[in-house]
């Protein structure tokens, strides 16, 4: 777990990693895509976020990653109110998160190894200190022989696994993943799910947005359902 962020924003010890209260959100010039969302993710919890396309899943994740600001309501992360967070304070929170983007957000000019190591490099860690861990992680996600490959040379599934490796390499306190198994086969999807579960057992709070209802049910995690911008009551997936 990374050390506490050197930020002007104070965080307090809290049993909740995420708390959204009455959150409304919409993109500029467009109607709300999220309406009155109330959500609590206790520390160490594991949730799936499901819902049809356009339900607002990605928008909700963008709010959690501080890529957007809500129109209404408040957002608390790691006990701190981040609703109107200053831009300069955002990196400290992002370093406590691991985010898997639907579009992968890989750097095409960097090798798979360098992409996976990016969050570590951005915290000025020496390569010698993390190289073995990055290599091991890439091996584990099945990219051990693709460490030098550039993202354009990777398949969709490989890109997705690389994005996941990068998201979890810092062992973040909050893992947010948008369709992390959308481009991989069933075997790899199960394997990646086990990785998220393992990190969850180590204390990470995990929220996965996915269309894969079956995977959500097999995970045994709580399932949150978004429908037309509103969050349906929480249910636990069938084990």
């Amino acid at each position: 777990m990374p050390s506490s962020p050197a930020s002007a924003v104070e965080t307090t010890a809290t049993p909740e990693t995420v708390r959204l209260s009455g959150v409304g959100f919409g993109y500029a010039g467009a109607p709300d895509v999220l309406r009155d969302v109330n959500l609590i993710l206790p520390r160490g919890s594991f949730h799936f976020l499901t819902g049809p396309s356009g339900a607002g899943k990605s928008s909700l994740l963008r709010l959690l990653t501080l890529a957007e600001r809500p129109r209404k309501g408040t957002i608390r992360l790691f006990g701190a109110d981040v609703t109107q967070i200053e831009r300069r304070d955002i990196p400290a929170f992002r370093r406590r998160m691991g985010v898997v983007f639907q579009e992968f957000h890989l750097l095409d000019h960097l090798s798979a190894f360098e992409n996976a190591a990016l969050p570590l490099r951005l915290t000025h860690q020496r390569e010698a200190a993390y190289a073995a861990d990055v290599a091991e992680m890439l091996k584990w996600v099945g990219l051990g022989d693709r460490m030098d490959a550039l993202p354009p040379a990777l398949s969709g599934g490989e890109k997705q696994r690389l994005a996941i490796a990068r998201a979890v390499i810092t062992r973040p306190g909050l893992i947010v993943a948008d369709e992390p198994t959308g481009s991989v086969d069933g075997v790899m999807a199960e394997k990646l799910l086990r990785l998220f579960q393992s990190l969850n057992r180590l204390g990470a709070t995990v929220l996965i947005a996915s269309h894969d209802q079956a995977l959500a049910e097999r995970s045994g995690a709580r399932v949150l359902r978004l429908d037309r911008g509103r969050l349906a009551p929480t249910e636990r997936a069938a084990a």
Binding site: T65, L66, A67, E68, R69, Q84, I85, E86, R87, R88, I90, P91, A92, R94, R95, V99, F101, H105, L106, L107, D108, H109, L110, S111, F113, E114, L118, P119, L120, R121, L122, T123, Q125, E127, A128, Y130, A131, A132, D133, A135, E136, M137, K139, W140, M147, D148, R166, V168, I169, T170, R171, K191, R194, L195, S198, L199, L202
Partner: protein, 315 residues
Amino acid sequence: MIRLSVLRLPSLRLSSLGLSGLRLPSGRPGLLPPAAAGEPWLMTVIAVLCFLACLAAVAASAADRAAHGWARQLGSEATVQVRPRVGETGDTAAARAAETLAGVDGVEEAAALSRKDAEDLLRPWLGDAVLPDLPLPHLVTVRLKADAPASAVTLSRALAAAGLDATVDDHSLWRGEVERSAALITTLAGAAFLATAFAAAAAIAYATRAGLAAGRGVIETLSLNGATDGRIAWLFQRRFALLAAGAGAIGALLAALLLGFLRFLGGSGGLSQALPIAWGDLLLLSPCPLLAATVALLAARFAAMQVLGSARGKG
């Protein structure tokens, strides 16, 4: 940092991984994509600007040196015009004035200018035809001591005391004009230097903005992975500072070659007395790469932080 050995994943047999045998990639590529297509052109533009700035700096230095030399030369001499009294020839009056002035403190040497010498001075301008009939003033040239030169007032008093009707010209009017002209040339050269530096800064700021716009996806990825605005700005600063340093070195080298060639052609006096180039002037060019890099650092920082700051609150 995650340690998979800590996870104890059932499917992961760490003992068989043989981590010691893992090949670790050597060297680290930059976080920004390789140079954009326009950067060689930017480097060319900055090199040309640095070349011009170097020429302007040397011109300013040479003009200043020339002006000081002329002013020093003018200040070390005085010219006295003697008007003969009734019953006295001009040459006699001039000789008497020269003798009088030679004994004044602060005078190194005083000599009457003969009519022949005066005609020799005028001949290139007027020709031989009119010189014999031309009334010429009776002049005495005075060389003053460099360390404690006699003033025009002192010379006038000495001449008056000797009963001579004379006017002393200590060249102060010319000296002032020369110094003002040199100051103007130096100021203009300095302004040209600043203008080229500003143009270089503007080009770099524009390139930084273009780089930020083109690399929006990269910047978003860096930002979402925890990079601060300062770190992202530094990536651009470093890139453009290195580019500007290289361009500055090229510009300075080209300027040094040109100035060295001119100095070689002009000999010890330089190519022109108005702009005497000295070998030492080439030392002025040595800070060019550093100055160019500094300008680039500041311009890129300003532009990057402005662009990134405009996204404040959007993450």
